[in-house]
């Protein structure tokens, strides 16, 4: 496979700023970021360094003011809102910090959402959702409400929802911040296991150094830029422990 084919996500010269005049805040400036197919890459850095903004750009929910964004060979910066919506529907899976499970729906109905958005029939969506719920260890809990589950179980539901439509790009925003150490480790183990595929890329934004060891590479951000990319996560993890 050529180097170009190996690239899952690439941003070049991306600028994003909010506000104007004296209140102008630059979130990303000339940001260069690359993620490869088959890898789990983490975006780390202090609060306000632009991690979430970069994640939004990669997810197609935020359009950069300058620069290019390429995800699995498609230029997001050239797409209109309708095309971006269709792109997200097909290519992206999301795991959010606060789970964002709809409390009035059952567990399986929450997992069905991405499939139903794609137009998959209700029965088929339920069938596929039950399969993935079994994979995340929630067989038997499918008809309960999310609020009846523990934090770790809710995040498993969120992972099932993110992967049920088999998206090539999985975006995780602080997936362990609401979980204790052991549960966080279990969740990351699951993310790595379920998402491990030569055609899938996982981008994780996190503050939680305890999960750095699950990354293939770690990109550190500072002041809206990628300051360095570490190929051996253990080195950066030991810095935080040290």
């Amino acid at each position: 496979m050529s180097a170009a084919h190996d690239i899952a996500v690439r941003t070049q010269g991306v600028d994003i700023s909010f506000g104007s005049g004296e209140t102008k805040v630059t979130a990303l400036q000339q940001t260069e970021f690359t993620a490869r197919r088959g890898e789990l890459i983490m975006l780390v850095g202090p609060s306000g360094c632009g991690k979430t903004t970069l994640l939004s750009v990669i997810a197609g929910t935020l359009t950069p003011q300058a620069g290019t964004v390429e995800v699995f060979g498609q230029r997001l910066d050239k797409m209109n809102q309708e095309q971006l919506t269709a792109f997200r529907r097909k290519h992206l899976g999301f795991v959010f910090q606060s789970f964002n499970l709809i409390p009035t729906l059952s567990v399986v109905e929450n997992v069905m959402v991405p499939l139903l958005i794609q137009g998959v029939g209700h029965a088929e969506a339920r069938r596929r959702s039950l399969i993935i719920l079994e994979k995340v260890g929630l067989k038997g809990r499918e008809d309960g409400k999310p609020n009846a589950l523990s934090g770790g179980q809710q995040q498993r539901v969120a992972i099932a929802r993110a992967l049920v439509h088999e998206p090539p790009l999985l975006i995780c925003d602080e997936p362990t911040s609401a979980l204790d150490k052991d549960t966080g480790a279990q969740i990351m183990e699951m993310v790595r296991e379920l998402s491990r595929s030569p055609d899938r890329c996982v981008v994780v934004v996190t503050h939680d150094f305890r999960i750095f060891r699950f990354a293939d590479r770690i990109a550190e951000m500072e002041d809206g830029r990628i300051s360095r990319v570490v190929d051996d996560p253990s080195t950066i993890e030991s810095q935080h422990h040290g």
Partner: protein, 396 residues
């Protein structure tokens, strides 16, 4: 997604209950108040319903059915001579005081009908025979009047009870005896007074020989002549005013006495304003409560809608979800409100007060207005969801 939208709606029971309360209350107020309004307005043209005739003829200055301007008896001959008239009968109506046996006075509507043909007689008697009206000093009283003018007696339980009048009982009109020979079933009048039927000639006696006693003439057209055509001929040949008697509210003609009575009361009383205010209030309360509740429902679910939007749901799908939720709530709210209005109506009809007429059109209009409230609520929600940034899902 629409099934999930409904599950989202029904999953939040407290919010749903609030939403349904607002919509149901609004629908109830609109349907119930409008039905009472039309009930009261239908009472205004009660004489046309009770006194059945194809054509009514009156003094040219008469504006409505309760507004009798007496004519000379000779007018009857002029009307009978008009081409196309099969027969014409005199009718007297007037408001008089009746003196009960216990000395109490009650306001009554005296109706004097032709003793030969009984044209204008009540359609149904629950007691007695119409022919007995030909006996001296006899009257027929309606059921409401029999109850209203009844005797108050002390019961075995020590409490006072009203015993309805019955055939054989006697009261007085202008000091002249009125012996009851029958009880009839007729629709109640706007004025609230009971109907007392006598013959036309005896009515003259009860009014103490008033110079003019011919209030209306009841006319039957010849075969092949429509009431409208006959009205035109009578007006052309006699200079009197002629009316048709159609009472179907959505199909009555310009010449209808009922229609003209309805609109007279509409223009000259505060009834439409009073009920219109209540209906408008119901609408505004419905919009305010439902709009506010639905808006807060949308606000509470906004982060989930943002998440669904981030996952790739188009605005069309999200708008569809909100419309389905609002329309479903609207339909249930309408059903509850209209059902309660019907139940209240049943009780009202049994008690006879206040009058209650729920046309299918009222239900349809209430449904449309309730759906309008729901659609407005949905639009408010759609605007809010359309403005939410999908990127907010990454902001914790």
């Amino acid at each position: 997604m629409f099934r999930l939208a409904l599950n989202m709606l029904f999953g939040d029971r407290a919010k749903l209950a609030m939403l349904l309360c607002g919509l149901a209350f609004s629908a109830l107020l609109m349907a119930q108040q409008t039905s009472v309004f039309f009930g009261i307005m239908s009472w205004t043209y009660t004489p046309v319903v009770n006194i059945r005739a194809h054509v009514w003829v009156s003094d040219p200055m008469v504006e409505q059915a309760n507004d009798a301007k007496p004519m000379r008896d000779t007018e009857l001959g002029r009307v009978r001579s008009v081409d196309g008239v099969a027969w014409a009968a005199p009718l007297h109506t007037s408001f008089l005081q009746a003196r009960m046996v216990d000395g109490n006075f009650k306001l009554i509507t005296l109706v004097g009908i032709d003793a030969d043909t009984f044209a204008g007689a009540p359609a149904e008697l629950s007691q007695g025979r119409i022919e007995d009206l030909r006996l001296p000093n006899t009257v027929i009283v309606d059921e409401w009047g029999a109850q209203l003018m009844g005797k108050t007696v002390k019961g075995a339980d020590g409490k006072m009870h009203t015993v309805a009048l019955k055939p054989g009982d006697v009261f007085e009109i202008n000091d002249i005896e009125a012996r009851i020979v029958g009880i009839c079933k007729v629709r109640r009048a706007f004025t609230g007074g009971p109907f007392v039927y006598s013959t036309y000639d005896r009515a003259k006696t009860y009014t103490l020989g008033a110079r003019r006693t011919l209030s209306f003439m009841l006319v039957e057209p010849n075969a092949g002549v429509t009431p409208s055509e006959l009205c035109e001929r009578i007006e052309r040949d006699t200079g009197l005013k002629a009316w048709t008697s159609d009472t179907v509210i959505w199909d009555w003609s310009d010449r209808s006495l009922a229609r003209n009575t309805f609109w007279w009361f509409w223009k000259n009383t505060g009834i439409p304003f009073s009920f219109g205010t209540a209906v408008a209030l119901g609408l505004f309360v419905g919009i305010a409560v439902s709009g506010q509740t639905f808006y807060s429902f949308v606000l509470e679910n906004l982060k989930y809608f943002a998440a669904i939007k981030a996952m790739g749901a188009s605005m069309r799908v999200l708008a569809g979800m909100l419309v389905i939720q609002a329309v479903t709530a609207g339909l249930i709210g309408f059903g509850l409100g209209a059902g309660m209005a019907q139940a209240i109506g049943r009780v009202m009809i049994e008690k006879g007060m206040p009058p209650f007429v729920m046309f299918p059109q009222i239900l349809f209009a209430t449904l449309m207005l309730t759906m309008g409230i729901s659609i407005v609520s949905a639009i408010i929600g759609i605007i809010k969801v359309s403005r939410v940034d999908a990127a907010t899902v990454f902001r914790g």
